[in-house]
């Protein structure tokens, strides 16, 4: 009897998980389907779900009109660059907060997080002027720095949380064996926190990939990533839904594939330390 209840509950949970998963995925699925419709089919009322004349015309138009590869390369460099730079800065910061906390550590962590609550547009002009003075406007280097700074609080918080789960005694033992600070972080701490660091890396790549405010406002023709590529297909005066969907699908495809292949690491990292 108990077994039957468990099975039923399992079935319900599975069905519920699938339903929620589909609900979350549905907008992406709809975007992908719309990218294969004509503009007329894209706005049809009632909406057409699957039974339409599939066409690759929108992809051909997008490919002809835009240099997709240039946007893609910019996105890859900006997302990976800002994440790598962020990790290099955040690992020592999180280490010191986790293992050598001061009485202000909690305040500093909260202050760092509070910077995420500032509306970005509030600092647009100061940052824009800084970029002009430093010659960073429309440069990938400028965006790497800005996105690193934006995501740094999240990286530090995540790493801090993971590091807190590692017993300080292990690091103490390494120190007693003569390990330097650098060796302690590289050879002892980092390998133990790999799942956490991996999920932090992945999450930050996704955040940097999707960032649209700064990438649109600080770029022109040279450093524009895929967010600018998508923005070039949106219009309040003219129907571009099918082409916009094709551009969106092309923009999210790399990150979807990355997410698909690394989902195990992502889940493992995000649940790291959840169950002791």
């Amino acid at each position: 009897m108990a077994r039957a209840v468990t099975t039923r509950r399992k079935a319900i949970n599975t069905a519920l998980a699938w339903a929620i998963g589909l609900l979350i995925f549905f907008p992406i699925l709809w975007t992908i389907l719309t990218s294969f419709k004509t503009e007329g089919q894209a706005i049809a009322d009632p909406p057409i779900f699957l039974f339409f004349d599939w066409t690759l015309e929108n992809y051909a138009i997008v490919q002809e009109r835009s240099d997709y590869m240039r946007y893609l390369v910019n996105s890859i460099i900006i997302a990976l660059g800002s994440t790598a730079l962020g990790i290099v800065i955040a690992v020592p910061a999180a280490w010191s907060m986790a293992f050598v906390p001061s009485k202000r550590t909690k305040d500093i962590l909260m202050w760092m997080l509070s910077t995420k609550m500032l509306p970005a547009v509030g600092v647009l002009y100061p940052i824009y002027l800084l970029f002009i003075k430093m010659g960073l406007l429309d440069s990938r280097m400028g965006l790497v720095v800005v996105l690193m700074l934006i995501n740094l609080p999240i990286i530090v918080w995540m790493l801090y949380t993971y590091f807190k789960e590692i017993p300080g005694e292990i690091l103490e033992a390494a120190r007693m064996d003569g390990a330097t600070l650098k060796e302690e972080i590289i050879y002892i701490l980092t390998p133990m926190a790999v799942p956490g660091i991996a999920s932090t890396l992945l999450l930050n790549v996704i955040l940097a990939w999707n960032e649209a405010f700064w990438t649109l406002n600080l770029t022109a023709a040279k450093a524009a990533p895929l967010t600018a590529f998508i923005a070039s297909y949106s219009s309040p005066e003219g129907l571009f839904y099918a082409k916009l969907s094709a551009a969106s699908t092309m923009a999210i495809a790399p990150i979807l594939i990355l997410g698909w292949f690394s989902q195990k690491q992502l889940v493992r990292g995000l649940t790291f330390g959840a169950v002791k």
Partner: protein, 434 residues
Amino acid sequence: MKNSIRVLMGACALGALATASSAETITIATVNNGDMIRMQGYTDQFTAKTGIDVEWVTLEENVLRQRVTTDISTKGGAFDIMTIGMYETPIWGANGWLVPLDDLSAEYDVDDILPAMAGGLSHDGTLYAAPFYGESSMIMYRTDLMEKAGLEMPAAPTWEFVREAAAAMTDRDADINGICLRGKAGWGEGGAFITAMSNSFGARWFDMDWNAQFDTDAWANTLNFFVGMMNESGPAGYATNGFNENLSLFQQGKCGMWIDATVAASFVTNPAESTVADSVGFALAPDTGLGKRSNWLWAWALAIPAGTQQEAAAKQFIEWATSKDYIELVAENEGWANVPPGARTSLYENPNYIEVPFAQMTLDSILSADPNNSTVEPSPYVGVQFAAIPEFAGIATEVSQEFSAVYAGQQTVEEALAKAQALTNDAMEAAGYR
């Protein structure tokens, strides 16, 4: 060996020179619409003719506006040419942010630009942006439904007729709405429509001392008429409908009439996109007999930000893109219906173009809008569906949000007008106008 090195160095120097001479590149920020995208396709011809390379930054209208405003106000220099509208041009020209276009070549024939367009893109008589295409607004209606309703659309109808016709054409069972109009919040969406409509009801945004005028009968009449007509004959949820939503409804045969941008005419008469392409008629935007119609005036134009290092090349591009030759080029390759409309007088004197079904009505609509004299009573601002002052975009967005709340049934006309009056006066006082 020495000779070989010399030859090699000479070749390198020549190569560098050649690279330098062909390396002139201009960056253009532009808006994503059919005409602009078409122009991008012909850029190679400009490069072949002049040796100047062109890089495009194409953005959605509102993103573009924010992007270029940030750049020009900080002298960022990210763009050599910006696509801007009639709202920005006089303001930016007055600020000294744009290069005056007062030395265009004789071949360009600047006097051929339609006077209404030239007037709206100038400040103190100096042209600051060259119109790529211009638009007004007009009525697009279903000839078959009008006939079925036993009515005939006059060339210049009144609002009363439009309301009556909308009611007669409405067939809720067949999902046909007599009239589709913009109700979406935003100064360029529903805000633009209701402002242009209010002109025909004798309303204005400000009196000559910059006092808000939402407490007048003219505004109450405008809003009450709009809401009454849309509730009788408009589509459900019209409070969130903008250009694209109404275009979609009209193309699917769900609107009897649609009053919107003249550029929509080419979309609704295109059989590849529209199910009602063969039964669309056109008429001037309605009035109430007070001497002003309810059509707006807009142009997307090319301007050069002051301080650009590529001023000469940018002017060359603007002369090419807004020339009579460019219009001929598009007509030759894609037909007269696809040329950028509303910018040049000569286009409407061309017998080939005037055969396009909506050409004459577009011209008549543009000519009936005067940005320097848009209201029945005198007003201190330039602009038909906007007031060309920097504060307007922010104020009008808030006001249109209040109006959209009325359309959605969340507040009354009186409440919305009272809020609009208070917020507009507050903003104008803070900005130092009052």
